[in-house]
Symmetry: C2
Subunit: 240 residues, 2 copies
């Protein structure tokens, strides 16, 4: 069974305001719900279509057709500054997202980062909320394995820098990524869909990378989608 109040609550969670107020978010689909149940996240409740009925499910779903299952999940607590310093001190290979706004792109990036063993993603405060249902769905469950940290990117960059790790970013005038020596730790910055990496952050990048079109100098698309560029970059860092 599902109460009217539960339906109202779940529907409200498509808005960030109510996710922030309640500290809850929603994940849909058997696979993602199953991953939530086997994760460190606290699952408050699971609703299944064969228990609450197709009608109730279609009222709470964020998808075009009602899912077989939906979980109500607690957002994890935010890491403190000392938590962040601790993470950086392990010298990870990490991603940093500079003002990414598209939920599908961010969800896809979380999924591929998980694939490539990049367990930490930093993001500027104006990056889309990862508990947005569209992000959660696009991660296909990877959201429950990755550390995703909203922060001041400047501070994080300085911390990586002070530990002598490199700061990488992709630019149209960078060095061809295929020929670069890429370290096994460092920070890879990905810029926003419309504006790329912001100037203030670009000035702190130590290694400018470029994914060349084929053939070099061909008249092609002006750029690659940010999730696509992230995928190729992560693959290059991890290929042996």
């Amino acid at each position: 069974m599902i109460s009217k109040n539960d339906i109202k609550l779940i529907r409200s969670l498509s808005q960030k305001k109510f996710r922030d107020e309640t500290g809850l978010f929603v994940a849909e689909g058997d696979k993602i719900v199953d991953e939530a149940l086997h994760s460190k996240f606290e699952v408050v409740n699971v609703y299944r279509k064969d228990e609450i009925g197709e009608d109730a499910m279609s009222r709470v779903t964020n998808l075009s057709s009602p899912s077989p299952s939906l979980a109500l999940i607690k957002k994890p607590s935010l890491p403190s500054e000392s938590d962040i310093e601790k993470i950086i001190s392990t010298k990870p290979l990490a991603l940093a997202l500079d003002s990414l706004r598209d939920p599908g792109n961010v969800g896809t990036i979380i999924r591929l980062a998980d694939w490539f063993g990049i367990d930490v993603i930093f993001a500027s405060h104006d990056t889309v909320d990862i508990f947005n249902p569209k992000v959660v769905q696009a991660t296909m469950g990877a959201i429950f394995r990755i550390k995703f940290i909203y922060c001041d990117l400047d501070t994080v960059i300085d911390s990586f820098n002070s530990l002598r790790m490199k700061i990488y970013g992709t630019f149209l005038d960078g060095d061809t990524i295929y020929n670069k020596d890429l370290d096994s730790s460092g920070l890879i910055i990905m810029g926003s869909e419309s504006n790329g990496i912001s100037d203030a952050i670009a000035s702190k990048i130590t290694d400018r990378l470029f994914i060349p079109p084929y053939p070099l100098g061909a008249e092609t698309s002006e750029s690659l989608n940010v999730a696509i560029a992230t995928a190729i970059t992560c693959s290059e860092f991890r290929r042996r």
Copy 2:
């Protein structure tokens, strides 16, 4: 100015049925409209917000906010069987999409294929219509440069095979792509979001590829998004 009939026509083109009936499709945004005007496609009309007004534009747009410009464009004529044979006889590196349904994925794949100089994309008849507005937008203009051919994939595979070109596909039990010799011509088959490559087509693949997670054997996402897998695969074929 824009007439009531034009508004009705443009709105109808969000549906495949009406795109097929009229032979027209829509592209939005200054960049894409500009690319259409400089392409071989026949642009029937361009509507600009500062000419027809914000109100009219918001009635015809497929986007969340009205674009500065929108073009009404003729769909190109379908290639004949002999056209297709001719294209294959040039021994290209080509993609083949097996039942891809997500417009964003297909649009993103067209954009990245263009970047990597892969000028021909074959697709099974049940792949999403590329003149769907969501596909057109995601290509960012690459749709005007790429040959996209709906066809029977079986026949195309046989043609590549008879010219002794390889048929590539990605599988979870394939050979690590980083260590494979990849030819500069051939057919790369990408499977559907939910089911992967269909069995009938999988049996015709000569070279099974695998994008390994890092570290190998790690507990990660079960798979990569199909546009992401396509990007890494194309990058590997083109990297020098």
